[in-house]
Structure formats: structure tokens, C-alpha cells
Point group: C2
Amino acid sequence: MWSRLGLLLLLACAPAPAQADVRGWIEANRARILAEYVELLSIPNVAADTTNIRRNADRLVGMLRERGLQARLLEGGDRSVPPAVFGEWSVPGATRTIVLYAHYDGQPADPADWTVTEPFTPLLLSGRHSAGGRPLPLPERGADVDPEWRLYARSASDDKAGVMAILAAIEALRAEGRTPAFNLKIFFDGEEEAGSPHLGEILSRHRDLLASDGWVIFDGPTHPSGAPQVVLGVRGIAGADITVYGAVRPLHSGHYGNWAPNPAMMLARLLASMRDRDGHVLIEGFYDDVEPLSPAERAAIAAAPAPDEMLRREFRLIRTEGGGRPLAELISQPSLSVLGLRSADVGADARTIIPASATASLDMRLVSGNDGRRQFDRLVAHIRGQGFHVTETEPSDEERARRPLIARVRDRGGYNAERTPIDHPLVRSVLSAAQAGAAGDVVVAPTLGGSLPLYLFREVLDAPTVTLSLANYDNNQHAEDENLRLGNLWEAIAIAAAVIGGD
Amino acid sequence: MWSRLGLLLLLACAPAPAQADVRGWIEANRARILAEYVELLSIPNVAADTTNIRRNADRLVGMLRERGLQARLLEGGDRSVPPAVFGEWSVPGATRTIVLYAHYDGQPADPADWTVTEPFTPLLLSGRHSAGGRPLPLPERGADVDPEWRLYARSASDDKAGVMAILAAIEALRAEGRTPAFNLKIFFDGEEEAGSPHLGEILSRHRDLLASDGWVIFDGPTHPSGAPQVVLGVRGIAGADITVYGAVRPLHSGHYGNWAPNPAMMLARLLASMRDRDGHVLIEGFYDDVEPLSPAERAAIAAAPAPDEMLRREFRLIRTEGGGRPLAELISQPSLSVLGLRSADVGADARTIIPASATASLDMRLVSGNDGRRQFDRLVAHIRGQGFHVTETEPSDEERARRPLIARVRDRGGYNAERTPIDHPLVRSVLSAAQAGAAGDVVVAPTLGGSLPLYLFREVLDAPTVTLSLANYDNNQHAEDENLRLGNLWEAIAIAAAVIGGD
């Protein structure tokens, strides 16, 4: 087991010498890497956009082949299912096989919400837009490139940055005439942001092709201190769309206000019943299954710098939930978040009506011990406990005639949490390589707050996973104005090269 | 004072003989009236749409002049302020002057919400769309026109129906060589649905021109039984847009869920604190100022058929608010309704974020005794009482740094309630004319649930008002798929002719 002392020693060790060459190569090729990356980001990549998602996949097959790898698409269904992109660099005599994973699809993006550029028209800025960053032309080859510059586009950080880091690292090793320290396989997922509904199918269909000793997942942000993170596990995710109903159509708020039930108000009351003021979830049994952290995991959390104060300043929060307990502790617990609310219109668009329905979307993050199905059922039981008749479809006239309170609950899908033990050989080798490749400290996080379907690799392939989280933490991922700090891209390439090279 | 017996007698009296001619004229001209009305409804009429609102006004001046009236625009500010349309038919020797009012602007309409047609592409259906009504071509002159047919368009009922009824009634009287029983003035308002922010200014500027013995307001729906309503007063309206804030930008719900405050959840809790499950408002002092109904007003309510059971069936409601008390009683009380909710996105568009803010729009209906300013202040005090710092503008970084809970509260504007006594001569003459013009019973309602700025006529012009509500009650006013039952238009024309003719 790792002692806290052991961790601190690892965090403090110096970059390996082999990295000097890689860093030199990156510096010499920054403008070219950037130009290629901008081209990749220009292809819209929402998983549901079949035509464009396949343009991405085809381009990635091409980029792998240009780097001398064998590459192909792995299909998970009909043409509407985004394919995974597979690449391989076989190393004669290698005793281990490692798969590097990143996902090339991105969250949906509404151009109307973006203030800097259109989601798929990448734009380089001299810094964070909200801190006064100004648009810049792409640098000429050999020009100076400031690591603080930021590239704005959907998936600039989540997660085409992972894709690009892997591709550039392969190129760097090729340029230096090196080979991977293992049989290298590449797997670029095409529907991670859609909840990876076909990932299990793809892994099953290509079980032999994907056999390995472990997967290294390139995804997620650095520690808020800026240090690259080696993440042992992720929270799982479950979720629901809840719609409650009033009259069968919107009613004039003057003629019927006080008499017709108001679904927006019903929804408010239902949501308010789910958590107390401090964010503690009031759904019965919500915290029952949580597996406590091990002493070594607790030590890793304690060893990492606590980002809370900095984050509160950054996000302009004077108060956080959980009674002021630290972020690292709180994300090791399951959560329930309202993702959005919608009922009729507000502000200048509001009409003086009692809406016919009101909808909230929720997610529940899961930790080791939780089961998504079980948490979802507890949520539904809570809704029933508040007096609602729960249905999966739009209520019929007959249901409306019998039930005063009706909630339609749609399962948003999801998957369970996953965690690889801190003393697993895969964790040890990746941590060592990350430390060799990184310019500064590396942080070990037992659990990333975000979710990835890592349980599938264990379930379908019996493979452990470890995650490298390298994008700037303030990247606006999943939101408008997503961006990547260029320094984080260079660092990610260096770390990917160290992992592949076995530094 | 009116006794209950007196009311019932009035309700039971028969149409006057002069009406036979008017009804004959309507029947002979239905197709032509309809064609002219479709043309009027085709001009978009949202008050904020300056260009189109003035196209409406100019067309109405033209329609008044075609009927031999003197007509002009009454401006209430610069060109961005919708003008009122004024018309006059002077009657030599007349001792009284009456102004007929209707409004030609309509509620905003999002074409995406409309299922039958576009809001400004009127479509005739063989019945209510939800009851299987099918599109029909406009009838040829002389063709049969079923009174159950419905015309779908924004403002088809609210309130271009009032405008068209007045215009057609004038034409009917001209055709029969009759003159009004008083000096007739016409006033078509152009921003009623925007809360009539300049009506007071227009009335002030043209005080002499608009001098009268009373105003007859053509607006609102019939009693749910289908009977035309003579309405003595209206609820007033106040309202607020409330926005609460979390972090300065949307945050990843995985990385920060449990730690970052969730504004959608804060808003839910705040709204839930405002009313109990039964719709009773919990804001301190909310019911303090209500003037009780007089015995004659109570008698009028008791004399009208109670529509509650029918409405519950129609709206598919098994339970209504207010502990099951009747609608007529509940709308004589102030109300608080959530008009809409908005925070990030829901359903398929939802992203896994903690939203940066959440907004609710509310309205508060006011009754005699209430003051809108006072109710608004009580709402703000309630929000403060829930721990929120209340601001009128987007919170600054400095405010965020000092206040854990911030609510931006925007005043949606509004006006107070107004009621003319049931024994006022204006009420008596209009009720008598309505009864003469109507095919069946007429209902007297002390208070309409909806709001009109009637207090202005009293405040600026010292004029009493009485309202005729004639559109089908199931007209979807203020919502998508607004429609007018044609039988209600013919009835409205007949009643308007009886009012003008002094039947």
C-alpha cells in the first residue's frame, strides 16, 4: 500500500531525461500541431449528428494512418451509431498491451449561448475571454506561442484534447525513432457525451482485438492547482427527466389563477423536498451503499493541495454546499443536481398563463458501492412518497381523471462508478510516467467528480483503467465557451509520450 | 341595489325586436366579415413589433373611415409606442357619450409552439382542433357557415374579436339606416398585452377628445357556460421576474456536484416557500387588504351557473386549488402564479452542468383593496425573509463576494383592480342592451379573473367602465393555438349593435 510519505516522494521526483527530446519536438512543431487541431475541431461532433460524427471518425482513421498505425472503425450497430476509431502499433517482443482511450464526440452546443465564437469555428484568444483575452490569428510556423493562449471551440478540451495529445505523442516518438514500451492500441470513443450507450456492444464485438493489460483514459481536467491528475476512478451517473402536469393546456393566469393547479409550483415543491439547504439529499437510502475510502485513498486526498479557496474565488462563491466540507471529500459522496428547469417562458417572453407542465432534468453521481438502478428507484420512490403517480409516458386522459398529481419520470441512463486500487501495477506505471512527463507536480485523485463508463472495461474486458486528466480545469467543459489553454495541450502531449515510451 | 331576484329577472328577459334586422344582416354578410377578419388577423400584432403594430393601426383607421367614421391615431410617445386608434360617430342632439374599447395587439406567440397553423396565418377549422376539427377553406359568399367552426390565429379571440365586433356592428347599423343612441367614440388600444405602459399618457394627452359618460370594454371570454358576461370589474396585476445565482458560470455537475450551490434548487426552495399545497399564499400580509364583495355582488355570483365541474372535465383536472372552493369565489381573491421557469436546458438538450442561474416569472392578480406596489413589496420582503439579498440588476462580483444568496427581482409592472358598482347607470344600460342583443342568458360577474388597466379610465378620465366578455371561454387566449368560435363572433356583433343602438 501507498503511504502518504510514498505519495509525496513520488510527487516530488524530477522529469526523466528522455523528455527533453519530446519537449524540444513539441516546441518546434507547436504551430503545425495547432493548425491540425483547429481542423479537427472544425468538424461538428455531437454524437446524434450522424453525418458529421462519421466525418470525425474518418478523419481520425486518416490521422492514425498518417502516423504509421493500422487503423479502422469499430462499429457498434447500424450507421446511426457513432463508430469507435481503433489504431494499433504492434511492438515485436512486447510483453504487455495497453490501450489509450479518448473520446472524439462532444456535448451538444447551442451557438446562441456562445459569446466568443461559434462552437465549431475554433478561435484562438490571447487568454481567457472573461479575463480580457483577445482574438489572435493562428501562429505561423516558428512563431512564438504563449502557453496562456486559449483555443475556444466545442471539445477543445473535452475531449479532442485527449485525442490530439495521443496523436501528437505518437508523432513525437516516431520523429525520435522510438517505439512504445508495450503493444500500443488506441481507442477513440464516439458517443461518450451521449452516455456511451453502445460502448459495451463495441467492446463485446471486438473483445479479442481489444484484449490488453489495462486502459489509460485521457479525459478530464487537471487538479484546480494546475497539476496533472492521475485519477483512480470516476463517479458513475444516473439521471432522470421529471415532468409534472397541470391542466391539459396552458390556462390564462387571470381567469384561473388560484383555481387551476400550477405545475411549475408543484415541481418546485417536489425538488425542494429532495435536498436540504446544505445540499444533503433527503431521498431515503441515498447514502446507504457508499463504500468508504481506504486509508491510502484518504492519504492521497490529504496530500493534494486543497483547491477550495481558489475555486470559490474563481467561481465567485462565498458559500459552498456540504457545510463547508472540502470538495475532494464531497465528490467522494453521491450527489443529486438539477441540470435544468423548463416551464413555459420567462422574462420578456413570459405569457400570463398557468403552464400545462414543468420539467426538471436531474443527474445523480454515483460512487463505489452505489448502483445506478437502485438510486434511480429510490428517486422514483421519493417522488411517489410526495404523492405523485409516476408514469413513464405522457399521461393519458384516463390517468389524469384518476390522479391529482402525476409525474412522468424518464430514465436518462448512465452507469456505475469504477475505481482501480491505488497499488495496482497499471496505476504505478502510469503515475511514474506522468511524473516523468510532467513539468511539475502530479496529483493522485482517488475519484474524479465527473463520470466515464469505466465499469464497462472491467465488466466486458476484465481490464483495469487509470485516467489522466490534463485539460485546464477552467475549460467550461459541457458549457458554452469551452476552451483549452495551450500550455495544457503541450503538457498533455509530453505526458502521453512518457506513458507510451515507458519513461 | 340589485336584488338576486332582480338579476334573475333580467337574465330571463327576451331579445328586443330591433335585433332581428341585425341578425339578418350578420347572416347575409358572414363570409364577407370573415374574409375581412382573416385579413386583419394576418397582420402580426405583438406590441414590441413597431412596424407591424403600426400596420395594424393604419388598417384600423382605414376600416373606421370605410364605415363613415372620423378616425385618427392617438400617439402616446415616439414611434416605438403603439398608437391607439380613435374613431367618432357624432350624433346631433345626443345627450350622452360612450366610448367602446377593444385592443388590437396580442400576446407574443412562438410559432414552434403552435400545432394548427402559424400564429399570423389564420386557419379555419371545422371545430376545436383537439376535438378533431379539420381545416376548411374560407366560405364563399352565401355559403353555409357553421357557428361551431373555429378560426385559429393569434388574437382571433383576444382581442381583435372585440375590434371586429365593434366594426361589424357599426356597419350593420349603417346598413339599416340607424344611428347610435349616444355620441359614439371608438378607442382601439395597441399595447394592452404589453401591460398598457402608455395608456395613461394617451388618455391624458387626449383628455378632451375622450371625454365621455363611460367606457364599454369589449374583451375577455364568456362565462364557461357559454353565456355572454357583463363584467363589473377586473383583477389588477403585478408581477416579478426572479433570478437566483450560483457560480459565475455553469459548472460540470460531476466535478462540482455536492459542492457548488445549485441555483435551480435554490429557486425551487424559494418558490415552494411562497404557497402551500393548496395554493394558499404564504407571503405575509398577502390577503390583508382585500375588500369583501357586497351582498349584491355575492348574489350575482350565486345566480350564475357554476362552471367548475365542466371546467375540470375540459381541463382534465381531478383536483383544483383552494380546497375545492368554487372558481367564482377564488378569483375574487388575489393570486400568485408561476408563469414560467427557465434554467439551462432539460431533456435531450440538458447538459450535465450545475446552471449558473435560474429564473421564474410570477404574476400576482390583484382585487379591490389591493395595491400592486404593496403586494410587490410584500413579495420582495418574503424573498429577503428566505435569506436572499435582493438586487434589481445582475449581481456584481462585489455583491457575490459578500452575499451567499442573491435574488435579482425585476418588477414586471402592472396596475390595480377596478370595479364599477352593480347599480351604476352605465352597468344597467349595458346589461339591458346585452340582454336585448344576446340569443340566450347573460351572466353578471362582479370580477373578471383576467386583468385590464381599467383603473386608468377612472384615474385619468374619471370615467366608469363596464366590460362585455364575449369570446368562447376555451379560446386558448395568451397561449398557443388561440382560436375563436364563429358563433361567438356573430353573437358579439349582435350585442355590440344592441349597445350602440341603445336597444
